[in-house]
Symmetry: C2
Subunit: 416 residues, 2 copies
């Protein structure tokens, strides 16, 4: 299998605030045809270092891709430097210059003289048309290897790669196709998850299975390799189906959708309306739901009842309940949910009251103590969570748990 290297060009990519992100996208596309990226280099507008990087890379790897530095200014050295690195001249192409002039004319400009350099290609290289910019790319072949020179802006680079480079790379890789699929999971710890699914995925070498834990998400990812995309997809589907079977309601998405999108669609489909009453999350659940275009179909109202008075006056939470049990209690969570549903006139309401920290914790109710309340026509109940993490994380996890509770109830995936 051929291996690839990626070289990102641009002094701005060597500053503290800027990352090279093109290489992540390119890596993903290369991986899809089974090609691994073995090395990445990030170099400034610095011909000496760039020439060395390209020469070394092309000496040891079958696929070398550079991004950036193809513009018309003096900083843009990639065209000239890549030619030097492969010991070729730059050759002028009249048809490219004509194209450039036409492009500029279309937008009502004369082509500036400095853009003329964009009509030069490495001797022997194919030109890669750029429908979204002035910089054409290049594909240079030598001894079964390819050097691909692409512009930096993602909206120029991506379509050029997909149209002109992908088929060549895929061919070099022997037509293998690698496809990924993932299940998004909630409400399970790392070890419990693995305990459940390891007996299944260890039976398979293809697809390969990995579980990714981020602060806010758990994903079970399947990577299948086959000779066609359909065959790879079928391998993933089979294993994903088996794994989803043992995980049951813990899987909230099998196509990468976020929890709020899943919940929003379920509400819309069942023509149910929702109200949200939030204390410690302070509007986060409402914000996440209204991130979705068209959320006015189901979202009636949110109550951010941060103070005790607001809980009482807005939601009718009995002052006595707050005095007796505290604002962070099952009783108050349930009264908030019932009150929100009643006052908003919605089908369903969900509530959150908890201690997000850093202050406000006690021995009985430490930071991370959160109650989620739920009310619909038939029932009103609450759940206690003890969440680890800092303020941001506790708030995020609380909002996720509240959305998940709605999901499970309306999809009937959970008793109570």
């Amino acid at each position: 299998m051929p291996v690839a290297e990626i070289i990102a060009v641009g002094t701005e990519l060597l500053t503290p605030n800027k990352s090279d992100t093109n290489s992540l996208w390119l890596t993903s596309r290369l991986n899809e045809c089974g090609v691994e990226v073995k090395l990445k280099t990030i170099v400034g507008d610095d011909s000496l270092r760039l020439e060395e990087a390209v020469r070394d890379a092309f000496g040891r790897s079958e696929i070398v891709i550079t991004t950036g530095g193809l513009g018309p200014t003096e900083d843009d050295i990639t065209r000239k430097t890549t030619a030097e690195a492969v010991d070729r001249d730059l050759v002028f192409h009249q048809e490219l210059l004509d194209d450039l002039r036409r492009k500029f004319k279309k937008f009502g400009y004369e082509m500036p003289e400095k853009n003329r350099q964009q009509a030069f290609l490495i001797d022997g290289a194919e030109s890669l048309p750029n429908p979204n910019g002035s910089a054409v790319g290049m594909l240079f072949r030598s001894n079964g290897r390819i050097l691909v020179v692409l512009p930096g802006p993602p909206r120029e680079l991506k379509p050029m790669f997909d149209e002109y480079v992908w088929p060549v790379v895929s061919d070099m890789a022997g037509g293998v196709v690698v496809v990924r699929k993932s299940l998004r999971v909630t409400g399970l710890g790392e070890s419990r998850l693995d305990e459940l699914i390891a007996p299944i995925y260890t039976k398979y070498e293809n697809p390969a299975t990995s579980t990714l834990f981020s602060k806010t998400d758990i994903e079970v990812q399947f990577t299948a390799t086959a000779s066609t995309a359909d065959a790879a997809k079928a391998l993933n589907e089979k294993l994903a189906h088996e794994v989803a079977g043992v995980l049951g309601a813990a899987v909230f998405s099998d196509d990468g959708e976020s929890m709020e999108v899943v919940v929003g669609r379920a509400l819309s489909e069942k023509k149910l309306t929702l109200a949200v009453a939030e204390s410690c999350t302070g509007g986060l659940v409402a914000k996440r739901l209204t991130d979705i275009p068209g959320s006015s179909d189901f979202m009636v109202e949110g109550f951010v009842t941060y103070s005790n008075d607001a809980k009482t006056e807005r939601l009718g939470v009995p002052k006595m309940a707050i005095d007796k049990h505290g604002a962070v209690s099952a009783e108050v969570a349930e009264a908030m949910a019932a009150g929100a549903r009643d006052r908003a006139g919605s089908d369903i309401a969900v509530s959150i009251t908890g201690i997000a920290g850093p202050g406000g914790g006690s021995r009985e109710k430490p930071v991370g103590t959160v109650y989620i309340g739920f009310a619909d026509r038939d029932s009103c109940f609450s759940r206690l969570l003890n969440l680890p993490g800092d303020r941001d994380l506790i708030r995020w996890r609380s909002s996720q748990a509240a959305l998940d509770l709605i999901r499970r109830r309306i999809m009937n995936r959970d008793g109570k």
Copy 2:
């Protein structure tokens, strides 16, 4: 001035989902003593490529820093490979092994035999103690150059760099100190901002001035170079003061604080309480304010009145006003703010109603039409914004404008 290269080691850094972020932090620290990073390499657990990368880098740059690959597993090849790249042996250090054994013992474990390799150093290198992990670092000097070998986890790498590497680098750079300061600005376009401040900053070569525009923020950044941090800071302060003078109330922070932190502190200091009524932002303003620990001091309540009924019932917005002017109108924005203030019993209330899109726009009120309402004891008024961008961006900019309106009013930085 010496130049630096950074080499990140780890196969996981060559996958589509993972970026090397250590190098951004290191670049920032190196820049602070005037050292530029000229090249970054990201290489897998691959001794051949790593050796070549280190050898090349050490051949052309005065400061070479590697991160990662110092653990006790077989994948962790950096210790051995860096030694090979500088043509030295690895030498066993009994005192490092004793230290390691003590560390493990402290946590109640026997040291696994494989950790023994962490007691080896490049011949002639200084060891860099790691208080937060088992992997000691190395600093190897040769012909006025340094090769620094650090572990990958940020919480191990950062204190080690600051304590042991920074003084050496700073010394190599001749004791120059580079200090940054920035002003965060709102409510000005790019060209208007530059028109205002270019006459000032172009008078100075040191500090250098740059303006950074992101989707959500404008920052004017000053970078001063001097022989001491105090002298550099003083240069920044002088220029920042001059620039802030012409920008006036448009500057909301001169120390990197976010808008919500600035507004929250101003409310707390003036002992003012706030209520928020949101339609198209759906809880985003409340969410941002309650991101701040201690926000219960000033935040009384949020109303997410997404439907027209909620606006009428919860906030007392006259149904007639909605029918006559539409839910997105000055009249409704003002009624929302007044209603929120009244019902929450807060000193101040702010409201947002607008069209975030992608649907819902019309010829008279296209997507991006947003009204911000404000009410306090003395006044009730609204502002019309026409915001560019997609749904997320319109919502974000609306929330920023609402927070900024509070800021300007309570800090008396703006007439009306």
